[in-house]
């Protein structure tokens, strides 16, 4: 019995100690689907470690905002060097914690639908929020927010919590930018259609694929995954007349990082062709750089919204709390 305990304790300790100390380890906090074995992380790790003599470690949370909160909980003792996966809507919140350093790199390679001028955060991909449905299951998907609330009562959607998830926050802002002062009323009428509100994107998408809901809040580019990886064409993004809210995903390094030079190298690496070519078929979003290789074929057939709705990050931060409490009140039962 004693032996087992000693063995177990040793195993626990061994599993908790960090990797060999001869190479520096760059630790990146990010969301689960980015760090997953099917996500971008493994390929990025391989490519970056080959170019730089280091170990790249991804530490996942159920959402990027979750990673931010983890860093806030750990404070200056955090072992994170980089936080990857926030978007422009929440980046300002992160900035105001004072935990993030200036990136100091040239971001002009990034070609985005909007100007880029942030000095802490570096963009690495973008997409548009959209509801995804299964054509075999839902014949006529809604084509606007009005049509969505007019769907039959048992038409259910899964969304994400705007407090914990960037898509969830995106939907909140999407609806706010269309309905303005009447957003709360819209949420009230949408509320009966909401099956559940998840902490992060993965959980919501998993519920949808399991058949628990008819539609899920995801991206216009999500169908590319089913087309390319699964050869399935029955998953579609519902095009909304009002336009689609955009998401630009970003990363930044921590002031408390012990490997700032390496962290800066990584931020620069994010804008390289190597990194950008990995993004479309692992994170299922658009790269921010026009690479030599270009977009994979599955992406070409996707409809690109003509206009990207996007609120200014500073404005979002100023109103985030009041928007969220308005939302909480509207959906409370």
């Amino acid at each position: 019995m004693k032996k087992i305990f000693i063995l177990a304790a040793t195993a626990l300790l061994a599993s908790m100690t960090l990797h060999a100390a001869d190479k520096p380890t760059l630790t990146i906090y990010t969301y689960d689907s980015f760090a997953a074995s099917w996500g971008p992380a493994p390929k990025i790790k391989e490519a970056f470690e080959k170019e730089n003599n280091c170990t790249l470690e991804f530490v996942p949370s159920s959402s990027a905002i979750g990673s931010l909160r983890k860093i806030q909980m750990e404070g200056a003792k955090t072992k994170a060097d980089i936080l990857l996966g926030l978007d422009t809507s929440i980046a300002q919140t992160a900035k105001e914690t004072g935990l993030f350093a200036k990136h100091g790199i040239d971001t002009s390679r990034a070609m985005l639908p909007t100007e880029w001028g942030d000095d802490s955060f570096v963009p690495f991909d973008y997409s548009y929020f959209a509801f995804v449905y299964d054509r075999n299951h839902t014949q006529k998907a809604p084509d606007s927010f009005e049509a969505l609330v007019a769907m039959p009562k048992d038409f259910k959607i899964v969304i994400q919590d705007p407090r914990s998830s960037t898509p969830g926050l995106g939907l909140l802002l999407w609806i706010k930018s269309i309905y303005g002062d009447k957003a709360a009323d819209y949420w009230k009428s949408l509320s009966p259609h909401i099956l559940t509100i998840t902490k992060g994107w993965s959980e919501a998408y998993g519920l949808f694929l399991k058949g628990e809901a008819d539609m899920v809040l995801s991206y216009t580019t999500s169908p590319a995954y089913h087309i390319i990886a699964e050869k399935k064409t029955n998953y579609l993004a519902a095009k909304f007349k009002e336009g689609h809210y955009g998401q630009i995903e970003v990363a930044a390094m921590l002031k408390s990082s012990q490997h700032k030079a390496l962290a800066q190298k990584f931020l620069q690496f994010m804008l390289s062709d190597t990194f950008q070519d990995i993004i479309p078929t692992t994170n299922w979003t658009y790269p921010v750089v026009k690479t030599k290789k270009g977009l994979p074929e599955g992406f070409l057939g996707l409809k690109v919204p003509s206009k990207m709705l996007l609120m200014d990050g500073k404005k979002v931060e100023k109103e985030r709390k009041s928007m969220i409490s308005e939302w909480l009140k509207a959906i409370a039962k």
Binding site: G66, G206, A332
Partner: protein
């Protein structure tokens, strides 16, 4: 007695320290700034706890009544044992089983779709799901205590009632209700407190945040919003209410007792329709209880175990969970023994109960063992987190401390209710003998207490081991890549794509918990 008093003082000081920490960090405007949202949270928390309590008592009562009158059918003892195991059944497993059966894509909907082409849809998320899960866990718990009260009714009373020609209803109202009433109120108080602070069930089935309890709102404020000020405000409100409830109900809760005791028999030949009714109730509720567990098995059997068992994260979670559960169980046993020792000293007339102040001290000792009901584990977690911000030790150490304390405090009330009566008995029986033999305290433990108590010790060790192994509470605050337990790992899996892995891990967790809960006491019994 001295170590017991020491433990009790330490526990109470610990609670005070937590309270002080929470209070010091909060802005102090708690009461003045209660807004609509907080009121709404409070209303829903109380509402669901009230409904859950009433429903649990109703089902627990009819089940206990039926079981008390049907004493001779095959599998009865197995059934009763199974119902008692609900005490340690991880909430996560119950939720998993319920979703498998009642979820949008569950068995019920599939059956109904095939038969009638109609689907009930996804009604499980929300109040109904919370109620079902609460009733599932608490009705079986209540039925166990109630059954014991039914069985302790003296046979003479039944004989008298029978000679007076009472109907089943008259018998219930005039004989049985009077006897079980105190158990009803004490179970009601306990169940209400448990539902008031319910966490994992509301977290998963609440369809957050439409249906939130205070406990989940505190969790979200910390983990999602990092709004520590709001979390503190909620925590202080929650703490005040639950302390008030514990104090108010301390006269009601005569103890969580009757978890493990033998019983006498009721002799009454039932009329046919009553028998039918009782069998109906037993089979329906037994089916309702067993089905979710079967669903976990059925779902888990198809999982790919060669992939699950080789996941490094799974192995780490398992080892961490086993170590934490072992340490928690050892601590719980030690604490329970020492607290019970102190308690009997203050309670027994042969010892010190007539000494001045011993009543108060006895009460303090008793309260320290029931702290958990007043200080929910999540609030303790928040306290630990705040302390971690103040001191330089890494968060990981605080996390382990928080999980261990939560486990011990959670198991103590149950452990005490089993071991305290047994230790009172040994004191009554052997005090004089030990004294006259001049046994040293150590020798007394070795030759008098241990042989007599080993079965109970085995039981509370298993109970607290199983409870600690299956709990998803504090770990939700601290769970990360650095520390993860099996329930936290399962929760993560449930929230991701890998649902077949989740089913496999759920089955492993369930078998582990039930196996340990059923197996360890046997091991202890054999030794005596």
């Amino acid at each position: 007695m001295i170590p017991g008093l020491g433990i009790a003082t330490a526990l109470l000081l610990f609670a005070l320290l937590l309270f002080a920490t929470l209070y010091r960090f909060s802005s102090g405007d708690t009461l003045s700034s209660i807004d609509d949202r907080i009121l709404g949270l409070l209303r829903f928390t109380l509402y669901q706890a009230t409904l859950s309590t009433l429903l649990s008592l109703f089902f627990g009562m009819i089940l206990a009544w039926s079981l008390a009158h049907q004493r001779h059918f095959r599998g009865r003892s197995l059934l009763v044992a199974l119902f008692s195991s609900s005490l340690v059944l991880p909430t996560l497993i119950v939720v998993f089983g319920l979703v498998t059966i009642l979820g949008n894509n569950g068995w019920l909907n599939h059956l109904s779709l095939t038969l009638t082409g109609h689907s009930f849809g996804s009604w499980l998320y929300g109040l109904s799901g919370i109620l079902i899960a609460h009733v599932y866990l608490n009705a079986s718990f209540a039925s166990r205590s109630l059954l014991h009260s039914f069985e302790s009714i003296p046979v003479e009373k039944y004989r008298l009632a029978k000679s007076l020609g009472f109907s089943a209803w008259q018998r219930f109202w005039l004989v049985e209700w009077v006897a079980v009433r105190s158990t009803v109120t004490s179970s009601a108080a306990t169940i209400f407190l448990l539902c008031f602070t319910s966490f994992a069930i509301v977290l998963i089935l609440g369809g957050s945040p439409s249906y939130n309890t205070l406990e989940v709102a505190i969790y979200e404020a910390v983990k999602i919003d990092f709004d520590i000020a709001f979390a503190l405000k909620l925590a202080l409100i929650q703490l005040s209410i639950s302390t008030l409830l514990v104090l108010l109900s301390s006269t009601l809760r005569t103890g969580l007792g009757n978890l493990k005791q033998e019983s006498t028999s009721v002799t009454w030949k039932e009329p046919r329709y009553t028998t039918l009714l009782q069998y109906g109730i037993i089979s329906l509720l037994a089916a309702a209880f067993v089905l979710p567990l079967l669903a976990v098995i059925a779902d888990g059997i198809g999982a790919d175990y060669s992939s699950i068992l080789t996941q490094p994260l799974f192995i780490r979670s398992l080892i961490t969970s086993l170590i934490i559960a072992t340490v928690s169980a050892i601590l719980t046993v030690l604490f329970a023994l020492m607290l019970s020792d102190a308690r009997r000293t203050f309670q027994l007339p042969e010892r010190m109960s007539r000494t001045k102040g011993s009543k108060l001290l006895g009460l303090l000792v008793a309260f320290s063992g029931n702290l958990y009901l007043a200080v929910p584990s999540l609030i303790m977690g928040v306290g630990f987190f705040l302390l971690s911000q103040q001191f330089e030790a890494p968060l990981l150490l605080w996390a382990i401390g928080a999980v261990l304390s939560a486990n011990v405090l959670m198991s103590l009330p149950f452990a005490l209710s089993v071991i305290a009566p047994a230790m009172q008995k040994t004191a009554r029986r052997y005090d004089r003998l030990s004294l006259s033999l001049g046994l040293t305290p150590l020798a007394r433990w070795r030759y008098v207490e241990l042989p007599y108590l080993s079965a109970s010790i085995g039981y509370i060790f298993a109970l607290s081991f199983a409870l600690s192994l299956g709990d998803l509470g504090v770990i939700a605050l601290f769970g990360s890549d650095e520390i993860t337990t099996l329930p936290w790992y399962l929760y993560q899996l449930m929230g991701s794509y890998r649902t077949t892995d989740a089913a496999g891990v759920a089955l492993i967790l369930m078998l582990l918990v039930l196996g340990i809960f059923g197996g360890i006491p046997r091991f202890f019994n054999k030794r005596t």
